[in-house]
């Protein structure tokens, strides 16, 4: 039963992601991107990461997507047109070549995953043996808060400084230039 719901979510993610990259209309793609992110949040819940799912919805759907729609609307109608013209420069692969590369990556990674399946890392088997696995009844948010303030305090501070710097940089870049 669990697995069926998991695969429904996975199906939504993959079909809408394929639609996002195959549709010609950028506005439709942006709104389908929304669906992909919501379904990804659903997949996170299956790994018992409820707080990550909420953050995904808050940050991506509330922030990133609105930002993208803004950028899309501040550029003009030209974006609605089909920009897919092929040219002969390096790194401007025609569609079929990029499709080939993507499918090649998928095949290699799936092969790797199926090969890897028989050799589970020792820390995973040890943790399953000890019972140190996150379960459905654990209070993740409390644990995460404690971990952020104790064990992961330095990365937390670094990431906040980084976010501050990135946002100041973005605000500076998108400012209208005054000719001084």
């Amino acid at each position: 039963m669990e697995l069926i719901i998991f695969y429904i979510f996975a199906f939504i993610v993959l079909t809408s992601a394929i639609l996002v990259v195959s549709l010609k209309n950028t506005a439709r793609s942006l709104f389908l991107f929304f669906v992909v992110l919501f379904a990804m949040a659903g997949l996170f819940i299956f790994a018992f990461a409820d707080f990550i799912a909420i953050t995904q919805i808050l940050v991506y759907v509330g922030g990133v997507l609105i930002l993208m729609i803004f950028a899309f609307m501040l550029s003009n109608k030209q974006l609605l047109e089909d920009l897919q013209n092929t040219s002969k420069k390096f790194l401007s692969l025609p569609n079929w070549q990029s499709l080939l590369v993507a499918i090649g990556f998928l095949v290699v990674m799936s092969y790797g995953i199926f090969e890897w399946q028989e050799h589970t890392p020792r820390w995973i088997t040890e943790n399953i043996h000890k019972g140190a696995v996150i379960g459905p009844s654990d209070n993740n948010i409390e644990e995460l808060g404690i971990k952020f303030m104790t064990k992961y305090l330095l990365p937390f501070e670094v990431i906040s400084l980084f976010l501050l710097a990135a946002l100041i940089g973005a605000a500076h870049l998108s400012r209208k230039e005054d000719h001084s």
Binding site: L14, V21, F51, A71, S75, N85, L106, L163, L173, S174
Partner: protein
């Protein structure tokens, strides 16, 4: 019972779709969306492995860090795209061949 393999397969497929978008699209916003797909696939992997790490919660903590990094990269990337559009009147990466004014 959902094992690790299911999560890994879904995220591998999402990664490939993102890679296709980055390689094939001629629109900077769509390329950014492809990068977001790749980052999301990575976050799914982090979360799936983090399920087996109750002592450190490493997977979930770094998944949160990755979400923050993705948000910052989108903010800076969109600012650059807007500037590019203002200067060159196009966001096709093919046609922006110079970096200086």
């Amino acid at each position: 019972m959902i094992t690790l393999t299911h999560f890994l397969l879904v995220s591998a497929a999402l990664f490939s779709i993102g890679l296709y978008a980055v390689l094939a699209k001629r629109n900077a916003i769509m390329i950014l969306i492809g990068i977001e797909f790749i980052i999301n696939a990575a976050i799914l992997n982090l979360v799936a492995f983090g399920k087996y790490d109750k002592i450190n919660y490493g997977g979930q903590v770094f998944a949160l860090f990755a979400i923050v990094l993705a948000a910052a990269s989108v903010a800076v990337g969109l600012a650059i795209i807007l500037n590019l559009y203002r200067k060159h009147q196009t966001i096709n990466p093919e046609q922006t061949t110079d970096l200086r004014d």
